[in-house]
């Protein structure tokens, strides 16, 4: 069965600090990988996704993620965070090809202080 683990439950940073959120998945086949963000009081929004091709994917708001197949990882990065990045971040995986349900990680709550 697929599973996703996110290493950090809570991260506190100051503005302009660099961010890296870890995500590892468990699945034997080809996967599609996602990062979703949930701002306070809002719905889940897609930050970025990886289906195939260049393992370094760029998303909205300056976020990027790198798929490292050998490590089963899909870490999220941003070189310089802003206060407005305060949110909860969810890594998710689905088996590639056709319909498959998304499996979410437990989420990482990021707080950015001015």
């Amino acid at each position: 069965a697929q599973s996703v683990s996110q290493h950090n439950h809570h991260v506190i940073l100051s503005e302009a600090a660099s961010l890296e959120l870890g995500c590892n998945y468990s699945y034997g086949g080809t996967v599609n990988l996602f990062w979703y963000v949930q701002y306070p009081g809002q719905h889940l929004q897609l930050l970025l996704k990886y289906f195939s091709g260049d393992p370094l994917v760029k998303g909205i708001k300056g976020f990027e993620a790198e798929f490292i197949k050998s490590k089963f990882s899909f870490n999220l990065r941003k070189p310089s965070v802003q206060w407005s990045d305060t949110a909860e971040y969810f890594c998710a995986v689905t088996a590639a090809g056709g319909y498959n349900k998304l499996i979410f990680g437990a989420g990482t709550r990021l707080a950015v202080h001015p």
Binding site: G98, Y99, K101, L102, F104
Partner: protein
């Protein structure tokens, strides 16, 4: 940008009561989903729906739960007899022909007393 809309945004109910949560998926989407998030826990898959039938459901989705697409636009989740542990945020999502990119609604917060 197309949105998935959910109603109500918050519902408070007594244990044992029936609850219906409503969703209007994006109009040209084909796959519909319900997820839930108990406070402080991860987002969990409940059920997926395609071509007017359930395509997959989780072990959480027991006989107390049902889904329906009563017309061309709405997608509902019914909880027949709510329990305290059903208190959660319920998210509806839909996806298009490629199926793999889900668009989520804002959620319906259910509080069971």
């Amino acid at each position: 940008e197309p949105e998935v809309t959910q109603t109500p945004s918050h519902q408070v109910t007594q244990m044992g009561q029936e609850v219906i949560l409503r969703c209007v998926p994006i109009s040209n989407h084909l796959y519909f989903y319900w997820y839930r998030q108990i406070l402080g826990q991860k987002v969990e898959f409940l059920v997926s729906f395609y071509n007017n039938e359930i395509s997959e459901k989780s072990e959480i989705f027991d006989d107390q739960f049902s889904v329906e697409r009563p017309d061309g636009s709405n997608f509902t989740l019914k909880i027949r007899s709510t329990k305290l542990e059903d208190s959660a945020m319920y998210f509806c999502a839909s996806s298009g022909a490629g199926a793999n990119v889900l668009t989520f609604g804002a959620g319906s917060r259910l509080t069971v007393l």
